[in-house]
Symmetry: C2
Subunit: 206 residues, 2 copies
């Protein structure tokens, strides 16, 4: 792409560094900002800068939070013996949305991925292990995505806490509610049969 302006070229380049944003999309977004009042660009850049500079993570669960202890961790009504291990804040938001979970979270900040150069020391695994060893935890629920990286991360954590006498579980894998069986992949369908649940139990859901 040949630009008639270095300023424009630079803005498009920086915008295209965002994931999933190609040069064309970046140009469209930047031209949109140019058509809007300057205040919109001001608000966007101010919001991003403020977030990046003042970002805080909950000292207990490592979730993004404006307070040093997040609202979930500081809620006395939540069960602090139950900890759900997730990858990032989006998983916390998704599980909170279900209104089915009353425990706390532990946000790892990613998963072990040698391909992307992410090792255990880049995640908040040590603080999770310490939490378990302190004896406060009754059960750990692994809720990582079921990929090789997710399984590796689960297993890495499991090995470090297996002798602590803490119950461990993973979220159920199965056919999504409303999905047709014939379109399900074999592994998921296989697991859903292997880990079938009593019919009476299924009636009590929701």
């Amino acid at each position: 792409m040949e630009f008639s302006s270095k300023l424009l070229e630079n803005a498009v380049y920086e915008m295209s560094q965002l994931p999933g944003v190609g040069k064309r999309t970046a140009l469209r977004l930047v031209l949109h900002l140019l058509k809007q009042p300057a205040s919109q660009t001001g608000r966007l850049t101010h919001a991003l800068n403020t977030l990046r500079e003042e970002i805080k993570f909950c000292r207990n669960c490592h979730n993004i939070s404006d307070l040093s202890l997040c609202e979930i961790c500081s809620n006395p009504k939540r069960d602090n013996g139950l900890i759900c291990v997730v990858e990032d804040i989006r998983d916390v938001m998704a599980i909170e949305n279900t209104s089915q979970y009353n425990g706390l979270y532990h946000v790892l900040g990613g998963k072990i991925s040698p391909m992307e150069g992410i090792g255990p020391q880049d995640l908040t695994i040590r603080s999770l292990v310490e939490k378990v060893k302190s004896g406060e935890v009754r059960e750990l629920i692994f809720a990582m995505s079921s990929t090789m990286e997710g399984d590796t991360t689960n297993f890495y954590i499991y090995r470090q806490i297996q002798d602590e006498g803490v119950k461990t579980s993973t979220i159920a894998r199965g056919i999504a509610v409303g999905d047709e069986l014939e379109y399900a992949d074999e592994i998921t369908l296989g697991r859903s049969i292997l880990h079938r649940i009593p019919f009476e139990t299924s009636l009590k859901a929701d």
Copy 2:
């Protein structure tokens, strides 16, 4: 979406004001920036702010330019009697990429669209008409997208300059090179027959 942080919520909101960026995408982009070094966010916001504050438009063709007269308009080798009327800078870039055009451009900055509240006074039509009336222009090529808004804009300009003795043309509409006839829409195919060109002429292209 329930956010655990007002700072995060605000950044996601501002990001989602960009066209084609929903709340989920905005969250993904913002979380990506949080995982990268703070310098990346700094470069992005600096580039956007600098562009928005220091943006200049060529005084002749109204294209985005760092100089008061853009490189195309100030190039003595270009034919300044030939003016291609386009909607925005992306069209200039697309036509420049073909290396088939040696005239100048006139960037309108949009097209007349009552639906979006864009009238002739919001575009650079007056300066185009003045340019034509000054007698410098030999031919005007309309290269707007062939939508109702594009046609309206072309016609609005045409009516104001039709008595000035300037040649006017529009870019050819037809079947794209490499496209199958059977998949072409009827209007395009119809126009490509109506405005057919001598076979000898077609041989000389490229």
